[in-house]
């Protein structure tokens, strides 16, 4: 951190800031200019908030020059993290496709869809049992019965399974059935939930909040990791912008940015980002081409009859075609499928 003092500030103000920093165990490099003093602060400054020092008398500006997140940063761990979910490695050489319906509606719907996506090469089955919806009157999910179906379908077609956890009370039950616990965009800054997930030893798929900066997102992962759970998969799903043609704007640049800043694997969800089936395939191709470690795609065996997010769900045939396209793209970026 660098603290820039106001021009011609009283010496006592500089001393006050230095005393505080040194008392907290930091080293200070003082540089007195002809009319302005600059303090370089050295030590583990991830624990302090620079804004706090801007409130000190005589301080013009306090700027952090290193990242506030630690465990999730590349500085802390250089080699990429590979998350293992029931034998499926996310973050390794292979691009992992997770597919399935938005919401588990029935045994027939889930098994029918699972069979088709497994045949096309999906290695993780997705399906929501507890559904946070924008409207309280919309279908809210099947709950534990849905989780049981998800586990059975995963076992039947040899896929790991991922489902969203909405609140702390659901965690214990979900651990019985689910290989990856998903934290939705709306819960990305539900810090109580994140802290509780830090205590479990099961991979977490952490979606980016729809208005979250990359730094806030990595700080959210830090909440989980600081509890000792290091198996985190980040998932970009689009952010709120002024554009209305798509539901959210998919931040494709987040993929290389995260790759630079963090060792955590990152996957993309083109279904929620666009909200439109016809936009899902081009975006899915772009995510893989940009270096994404995987995809999270909604597929429904009969999207017209879907209880949730039908318009953004791919038909099984479209999904199969997408997988064929990905088989061409993946080797071009040095990966396998």
């Amino acid at each position: 951190m660098v603290i820039v003092m106001e021009k011609h500030t009283a010496e006592a103000n500089v001393e006050h800031v230095m005393s505080e920093l040194i008392a907290r165990g930091f080293d200070v490099h003082r540089s007195t200019g002809s009319d302005q003093t600059i303090l370089g602060v050295v030590g583990d400054i991830t624990t302090i908030d620079p804004r706090e020092f801007e409130l000190f008398e005589g301080v013009q500006e306090a700027v952090r020059v290193s990242e506030p997140y630690k465990l999730s940063s590349r500085t802390w761990r250089r080699e990429k993290t590979i998350v293992n979910a029931r034998g499926v490695e996310i973050g390794g050489d292979k691009v992992v496709v997770m597919a399935g319906p938005c919401t588990i509606e029935s045994e027939h719907q889930l098994f029918e869809t699972a069979k088709r996506v497994a045949r096309s090469g999906a290695r993780v089955l997705r399906g929501g049992a507890y559904k946070p919806r924008s409207s309280p009157y919309a279908f809210q999910g099947m709950g534990v019965e849905g989780l049981k179906l998800l586990r059975a379908a995963g076992d039947e077609f040899n896929m790991a399974v991922v489902s969203e956890v909405m609140e702390i009370s659901q965690i214990e039950k979900m651990l019985e059935y689910v290989d990856i616990l998903q934290v939705g965009a709306r819960n990305m800054q539900n810090f109580n939930l994140l802290t509780a997930l830090g205590q479990v030893r099961r991979p977490i798929l952490l979606k980016r909040g729809m208005s979250a900066t990359i730094q806030e997102w990595l700080l959210a992962s830090e909440y989980i990791m600081s509890g000792g759970n290091y198996d985190i998969i980040l998932c970009e799903r689009g952010i709120r912008t002024f554009e209305t043609a798509t539901r959210n704007t998919f931040d494709i640049s987040a993929i290389p940015v995260i790759d630079k800043l963090s060792h955590l694997p990152i996957v993309g969800d083109p279904s929620h980002a666009t909200g439109r089936r016809d936009k899902v395939m081009p975006l899915a191709r772009a995510i893989v081409a940009a270096g994404g470690d995987g995809l999270l795609i909604e597929v429904h065996h009969d999207p017209e009859k879907a209880l949730c997010d039908g318009p953004q769900s791919l038909y099984p045939d479209q999904f199969a075609r997408l997988m064929d396209e990905l088989r061409i793209i993946v080797p071009a970026v040095g990966r396998a499928l």
Binding site: E11, S19, I22, R30, S31
Partner: protein, 100 residues
């Protein structure tokens, strides 16, 4: 001075700087040893590492000893860095003493 002489002179002066640097490093380490001992004493007596008043004295003393050609602000800037490092070794030795 012809070109050959000038090149020989440059080498001689660079060697001289290297010799001076060796002395500076030796003296800085001598200074650091005193700072370490002071840190130990501060640890025992539970005194603060950062004493602005004393740092001011050190700077003034260094400036007063200056005979040029460096100007006083240059001496001040150089000594600020030396003091930064002394404070660090004092802190380390004080906390080592504390935990004993």
């Amino acid at each position: 001075m012809n070109r050959l002489d000038a090149e020989g002179e440059l080498t001689r002066l660079r060697d001289a700087i290297d010799r001076v640097d060796e002395v500076i490093v030796k003296l800085l380490n001598q200074r650091a040893k005193y700072a370490i001992e002071i840190g130990e004493i501060k640890g025992v007596l539970d005194l603060p590492i950062y004493v602005p008043e004393r740092e001011k004295q050190v700077l003034l003393h260094a400036e007063a000893s200056n005979t040029g050609p460096l100007d006083e602000s240059a001496v001040r800037r150089l000594f600020e860095r030396i003091i930064d490092e002394s404070r660090r070794v004092e802190r380390l030795s004080a906390s080592a003493k504390e935990s004993v």
